[in-house]
Symmetry: C2
Subunit: 387 residues, 2 copies
C-alpha cells in the first residue's frame, strides 16, 4: 500500500498525465444507495440478428449492404452519421482582432472522417468473449487505418510495416484523407449505460483536423516531463514504478501493464500502458500486438467477472497525433484508457454529477482497492460456467 492512511482519509491525488487533481473519499462507500439502478443487460442474444445493421450481409439504414466479413478481417466503413465530414461549406472566422466579440465568441471549422469498425461477425460476442487471437485482427485493422491517415512528414510514416498489415479484404473505405488530419481517436462505447445503441461488438474512429482537448492536455504533460527529466518518458517511468510496487497492477505481461492509475477517476478505471516507450500503434512489433490483445482480453474478462454482468465502459487509444511537431510525436506514449461507470454492483453506477461537474471529480473506493478486486477476478469468464 501507499501510506495506509490514504485508505481512510479524504485526500486529493494529482493526475500527472493530465495535470489535474481528483478528490478521493474512501469512507464514502458506507453510504446507503437509494438512487437510480441500471437496467439489466441482455444475456442471450442471437449469433446473427437480421435487424442489426452491423451483422455480416445486412443492409444499413443509409448505407450499402455489409460484406460477409469474418473474424480475421473486421469490416470498416464510414459512419453513416459522422460527427465530422470530409467536406463542408467554408467558414471564415472573424479576425482575431482583439475585439471583445472576437475574443469571447471564437469558433473554427473542423473537418474529418468517422469510421465504424466491427470487432467480430458474431452479434453476441464482446471483447471479453473473444480469444486474444481474435482481438489481434482488430488491433491490426486499427493500425492500418492509423497508418493510412499518417502525415507523410511524420517520423512515424517511415516505420516499416510487417506484411500482416497489408490491406485486407474490407479496407475499401479506408481511403487517403482529403485533408491532412491532426488526430485520430479510436474508441469503443460498450453497453446501454454508455450510450451504445447496438450490442454488436464494434468501435468507432473519429479523425479531425483539430487536436482534441484530452490528448492535447496529455501531450502538454508528457512533453513537459520529457523536457524536465532529460528526455525520460513520463509513462515509461510510471509503468516501471507501478511494476515495482504492484499495488495498482491488475495484469502484466512482457510488454504491457494493465493498472488502476494512481489518479483514476472512475471506480474501476484501468489504463493499459506499454512498458517501453512506443509512440503509436505502428511502433508495436507483432509480438507486442499479440501481448496487447492478451491485455485487452484480460481487462475485459475481469470486468465482466467483477459483477457477473456485461460490464459497460468507454475505452479508447491515446497515441501520437497524425501530424504534429517532432516534440509532440516523440513525447507521445501509446496507452489505452478504460472508463467504466459501475461502482457497487451490476446495477449501481457512480454518478459524476453535481460536485464533479461543477468543482472536481470525486471517487469513493481507492484505486488500490479497485485493483485488488480486479486482480481477484481472473479465471474463466463467468458466463462460460453457466449452464
Amino acid at each position: 500500500m501507499p501510506d495506509a492512511i490514504l485508505d481512510d482519509i479524504s485526500h486529493r491525488r494529482y493526475n500527472a498525465l493530465r495535470g489535474t487533481w481528483i478528490l478521493v473519499s474512501p469512507h464514502r462507500t458506507k453510504r446507503p444507495w437509494q438512487g437510480q439502478q441500471e437496467g439489466a443487460t441482455q444475456t442471450s442474444l442471437p449469433e446473427y440478428d437480421p435487424s442489426c445493421y452491423l451483422c455480416p450481409g445486412n443492409k444499413r439504414a443509409q448505407g450499402d449492404a455489409n460484406p460477409k466479413y469474418t473474424a480475421e478481417e473486421p469490416f470498416v466503413f464510414v459512419n453513416d452519421y459522422s460527427a465530422v465530414k470530409e467536406e463542408q461549406a467554408d467558414y471564415n472566422p472573424p479576425d482575431q482582432d482583439g475585439s471583445i466579440s472576437a475574443r469571447l465568441l471564437r469558433a473554427e471549422s473542423t473537418t474529418g472522417k468517422c469510421y465504424v469498425i466491427t470487432f467480430n461477425p458474431a452479434h453476441n460476442l464482446t471483447l471479453a468473449d473473444l480469444q486474444p487471437g481474435q482481438i489481434l485482427p482488430i488491433i491490426r485493422a486499427w493500425t492500418r487505418i492509423y497508418t493510412a491517415h499518417l502525415s507523410p512528414k511524420s517520423p512515424l510514416a517511415s516505420v516499416s510495416q510487417p506484411t500482416t498489415l497489408a490491406p485486407a479484404s474490407h479496407d475499401e473505405s479506408i481511403t487517403a484523407p482529403k485533408a491532412q488530419y491532426r488526430y485520430m481517436q479510436i474508441f469503443e462505447n460498450k453497453g446501454a449505460a454508455m450510450g451504445c445503441s447496438n450490442p454488436h461488438p464494434h468501435g468507432q474512429i473519429w479523425t479531425t483536423t483539430s487536436l482534441p482537448e484530452e490528448p492535447a492536455a496529455e501531450l502538454v504533460q508528457l512533453s513537459k516531463y520529457r523536457r524536465e527529466q532529460g528526455g525520460a518518458h513520463l509513462l515509461e517511468d510510471y509503468a516501471q514504478l507501478e511494476a515495482e510496487k504492484q499495488e495498482r497492477v491488475v495484469y502484466e505481461n512482457a510488454s504491457f501493464l494493465a493498472l488502476c492509475p494512481w489518479w483514476a477517476t472512475w471506480p474501476f478505471e484501468v489504463m493499459v500502458v506499454s512498458k517501453k516507450h512506443r509512440r503509436a500503434l505502428v511502433d508495436l512489433s507483432e509480438q507486442e500486438k499479440t501481448q496487447l490483445a492478451e491485455a485487452l482480453q484480460e481487462v475485459t474478462r475481469r470486468y465482466d467477472n467483477l459483477f457477473e454482468t456485461h460490464f459497460p465502459y468507454s475505452m479508447g487509444l491515446h497515441q501520437a497525433p497524425l501530424e504534429g511537431t517532432n516534440d509532440e510525436i516523440e513525447s507521445s506514449h501509446f496507452h489505452i484508457h478504460f472508463y467504466p461507470p459501475l461502482l457497487r454492483s451490476a446495477s449501481v453506477r457512480k454518478f459524476l454529477v453535481g460536485y464533479e461537474m461543477l468543482a472536481e471529480p470525486q471517487r469513493d473506493i481507492t484505486p488500490e482497492q479497485a485493483a485488488a478486486r480486479l486482480r481477484n477476478c481472473a479465471g474463466v469468464l463467468y458466463r462460460k460456467n453457466m449452464a
Copy 2:
C-alpha cells in the same frame, strides 16, 4: 444568428471561461436514436412522505430528527455521509524532492465540511414549482453559509450585510469552521438521471481546504482577461455582448441574464450571470437577490415545460473563493451553471461518453437553437394546466 453557416457545419467553439474547446456537429441530430431511454419521473408525490429523511419532523438515518422548518427558513444540516470531514488523521505527503515517485504519486490531505440544505418543506415541490418569493429564502441561506465561512482577511468579509441575513431558526449547524477553508461549492443534483436519490427539493454545499479544478480553471481565465483588458471583467463584457445580440438569451431582468453560453457543452446548458461585476453572494443587494430568484424560477420552469417533465440537471454556483489572493477575489464573477442531460425528449439524453471522455466534448444542437426553444417555453408550468 452568428455566421449562419455554423448552423450547418461541424466546428469547434472556444470556452473563454474555461479555456477549452468543444466540438459542435449540428447535422447530427438527424441520427435515429435506438439507445437507452430514461425512466419516467414520478409526477404525483405526496406533500409529506413519512419515510423521507428530509421532510420536516422526520428522523434521519444517522442523524437527529429534523425540525419543523418552514418555506421561509430552510433547514441546513451537516451531511451524514460527507465526502470531506472537519477532522481526520494526519497525512504527511513525502517530500516533493523531484524523485519520480514524488512526481508521479502525489497526494494531499483535504478537510472540509459538507452541508445539505432543504429548499422547501413540501416533499413534492421543485424550484420550478416555487414562486420567486419562495426561492429568495434559499438564496439568503446560501449567503449566510457562505458568509459564515469567509476568511476574515477576505475583502468580502467587510461587505455589510442586510438584516435579512441575520441568523435564522435552523442555522445551528452553520458553525465557524475548524480550519480556514478555501472554496465553497453550492450545488443541486436534481432527478434520478443525475444521481439524486431523494426527490425532496434540496441542495448540497461542499466546502474544502483546496480550490477545486473547475473554479480554478475559470479563475485562471478570469484573471488573465482582467490583466490583459485593463481591469475589465470577462463575464461582464460577455453578458453585455450577449444582451446586445440576444441570440443566446433565454431570459433577462435588470440584474441577471439567463443564456445558453456560446460554448455550452450540454444540449440545454444554461448560465445565469450577473450583468454587473459581483464577486460573490455577499455582493448582491436585496433587489439583486430577488431578481436572481426570478431568474432561477424562469430557467427551471422553462426546463420543465420543454419536454413536459421533471427536467433533471446538476446546477451550481461559482463565486469568489472563501480565502484567496486579492486578484482571485476581485477577478471572480458570480454566476450559476445548469448542466441538464436531456437532448431529444423526456426520455432521450445526451451521452457524454467515448469521444467526449477520451477526446473532446461534442454537442449536437447549437446553443442558438437551444436558446430559441427555451425562449418559447415561457408561460405557466405545464403541470399547472393539468387536471
